[in-house]
C-alpha cells in the first residue's frame, strides 16, 4: 500500500505496468508480422495461440490488470500534477519537454479508446462480423485470420484508424520508454541521453512495424 501512497511508488507502478504493456506490444508485433508470410503464417500462429488454452487466459488477465492499473495511475498522476502547477505562466518556454512527453495522457486515452475498438473487431469479432475468422475457416479448417485482417484493412477508413492508433502508441512510447528506464532508476549520467535516443528509436520501429500491416494491405501490396 505504501507503494501507492508515495509519489515515487506510484511512478514505479506506472513503469512496471508500462513494461508489461510494452512487452506485450513487442510480442504481439512479432506474431502479427507472420501475416507477411501469407495465410499459412498467421493462421498457424493464431491456432497455436488458441491451443494454449488456460495459459492464454492467464496472460490476458495479467495484461488487463496491468492496463487497468496503468490507466488508473496515469489519470490520477495527471490530475494531481495539474493541481500542483495550477497557475500558468504568462510566458512559458520549455527547454527539454517534448510534444510526446507533454501529451502522455492524450495518447494514452486514445490508445484506450482504440483498444476497445480493436478487441471488438479482431478478438470479439462483433465489428465487421462478415469477415469473422471463427465463421470463415481456411482450407485446412483453421479460423481464417488472414482473410479477416486483409478484408478489414482493405477498407481505407479501418486502415487509417489503425495507423493513427499506432502513431499514438509510437508517441506514447517515444517518451514512455526512456521515462520507464529513469523511473526504475536504471540510469546514470552517461546512459541517460543514450536511453532517450534508444527509446525514441524503438518507438519508431514499433510504429513502423505495426503500421506496415494496414499500409501494406490498403496499398494492395499484401493479400492479393
Amino acid at each position: 500500500m505504501t507503494l501507492i501512497k508515495n509519489m515515487v511508488g506510484r511512478k514505479i507502478v506506472m513503469s512496471i505496468t508500462g513494461l508489461a504493456l510494452v512487452s506485450f506490444v513487442c510480442i504481439h508485433l512479432l506474431g502479427n508480422i507472420s501475416l507477411f508470410s501469407g495465410p499459412d503464417g498467421i493462421n498457424a500462429y493464431a491456432k497455436m495461440l488458441h491451443s494454449l488454452g488456460p495459459f492464454l487466459w492467464v496472460v490476458r488477465l495479467i495484461m488487463a490488470a496491468a492496463l487497468g492499473l496503468h490507466m488508473v495511475f496515469g489519470i490520477l498522476l495527471t490530475l494531481e500534477n495539474r493541481t500542483s502547477r495550477a497557475q500558468k505562466y504568462a510566458v512559458n518556454k520549455h527547454l527539454s519537454a517534448t510534444v510526446a512527453g507533454k501529451n502522455m495522457i492524450w495518447t494514452g486515452l486514445l490508445i484506450a479508446l482504440y483498444l476497445g475498438y480493436h478487441l471488438l473487431h479482431f478478438t470479439g469479432q462483433m465489428i465487421m462480423p462478415e469477415f469473422s475468422s471463427s465463421r470463415n475457416l481456411d482450407a485446412l479448417g483453421r479460423p481464417d485470420v488472414f482473410s479477416m485482417v486483409v478484408h478489414s484493412f482493405q477498407h481505407t477508413v479501418v486502415s487509417v484508424v489503425y495507423v493513427t492508433a499506432m502513431a499514438a502508441v509510437g508517441l506514447h512510447l517515444s517518451h514512455g520508454l526512456q521515462s520507464m528506464v529513469q523511473t526504475l532508476g536504471l540510469n546514470n549520467e552517461r546512459t541517460l541521453p543514450v536511453m532517450v535516443k534508444v527509446g525514441a528509436a524503438a518507438a519508431l520501429v514499433l510504429f513502423l512495424g505495426y503500421a506496415a500491416i494496414p499500409a501494406g494491405i490498403v496499398s494492395r501490396l499484401v493479400g492479393r
Partner: protein, 254 residues
C-alpha cells in the same frame, strides 16, 4: 539601453495578481538583472509608487534567494546562472522582458515576485540530515570514502535550494531538489545509516506539501543554476526501491 518590462504584481495570497508594464530606462549592460530592477524601483519610489518586491540576498549566486522567471525561463536565458548573476548585456536595447514569480502550488506568492519556499525546508526537516553524535573532532581520514563517491556527493551538494527546478517543472515537482539531497547524503558513510528512512520520508513529505510527481521531462536540469543532473533522480528512485524492498512498510505513518 531602454527596456519594456511586464512584471507580475500581486499584493498577497488572496490577491489574483496581474502583469503590469514598466519602462526601464538608461540601463547599463554591465548591470546585473537585480541592479536593473533596483533602478526601476528607485524610479517608482521617486514617483511615490510601490516598489516591485523581489527576493535576493548574496547577489553572488550562492544563496538561492533570487527567484524570477524571466521570459518563461526560471533564472532567465543564461545557462547555469542565477538571476543575480545574470547581466543585462545578454539583452538588447528595446527588448520586452516578462518577469514572473516561481509558480507552484507548494510555493504560494507572498508578494509580487516573492514566493514562500518553506515547503523545501520542510522536506529537509523531514529527513535531509544525518544524526551524528557530536563529540571530539574526529581524526582526518578516520572514515575513508572512495574519491568517486565524494565527487558525486559534492556535485549533489552544490544545490542551493533555489527552487528553480520546481518552477520549471510542468508538474511543480521537487524531485531534482530532493534527489540532490538524497544523493548527497546517500553517497557518504555518515548519511548511509539513515538512507532507507530518509528517501521514504522525504518523498512522502513532497506529496504532503503539494508538489507534483516526476514525469521525466528534464526541464529542471535545463534551468538548474548549479548543474544538478537528473541522473540523481534515477539515484533517488533506486534508493526508494531499495528502501521499499528492505521494508515495504516504509511509510512513516505521519
Amino acid at each position: 539601453m531602454d527596456l519594456t518590462l511586464f512584471v507580475w504584481r500581486q499584493r498577497g495570497q488572496l490577491d489574483k495578481g496581474r502583469l503590469e508594464q514598466y519602462a526601464a530606462r538608461n540601463i547599463s549592460p554591465d548591470m546585473s538583472f537585480l541592479e536593473m530592477l533596483d533602478t526601476v524601483n528607485e524610479g517608482l519610489i521617486a514617483e511615490g509608487r510601490e516598489a516591485i518586491a523581489f527576493d535576493h540576498d548574496c547577489r553572488e549566486g550562492i544563496c538561492g534567494m533570487c527567484s524570477q522567471v524571466i521570459n518563461g525561463i526560471p533564472h532567465g536565458p543564461q545557462e547555469k546562472t542565477t538571476v543575480c548573476q545574470l547581466h543585462m548585456r545578454h539583452f538588447k536595447d528595446g527588448d520586452t522582458i516578462y518577469i514572473e514569480p516561481w509558480r507552484a502550488k507548494a510555493f504560494p506568492v507572498i508578494r509580487d515576485l516573492i514566493v514562500d519556499r518553506s515547503s523545501l525546508d520542510r522536506i529537509i526537516q523531514s529527513g535531509g540530515y544525518a544524526s551524528v553524535h557530536t563529540g571530539g573532532v574526529p581524526d582526518a581520514n578516520a572514515v575513508l570514502v572512495p574519491k568517486q563517491d565524494v565527487d558525486i556527493a559534492m556535485d549533489a551538494a552544490e544545490c542551493i535550494g533555489c527552487g528553480a527546478c520546481v518552477a520549471a517543472c510542468p508538474n511543480g515537482a521537487a524531485m531534482l531538489f530532493t534527489a540532490a539531497k538524497v544523493t548527497h547524503l546517500a553517497m557518504l558513510p555518515q548519511g548511509r545509516v539513515e538512507a532507507a528512512r530518509r528517501v521514504c520520508v522525504m518523498t512522502e513529505t513532497m506529496l504532503r506539501e503539494g508538489f507534483g510527481s516526476c514525469s521525466n521531462h528534464y526541464e529542471c536540469q535545463a534551468v538548474c543554476p548549479k548543474g544538478i543532473k537528473v541522473s540523481f533522480i534515477a539515484k533517488l528512485n533506486r534508493e526508494y526501491l531499495k528502501s521499499f524492498m528492505g521494508n515495504p512498510g516504509c511509510s512513516t505513518g505521519e
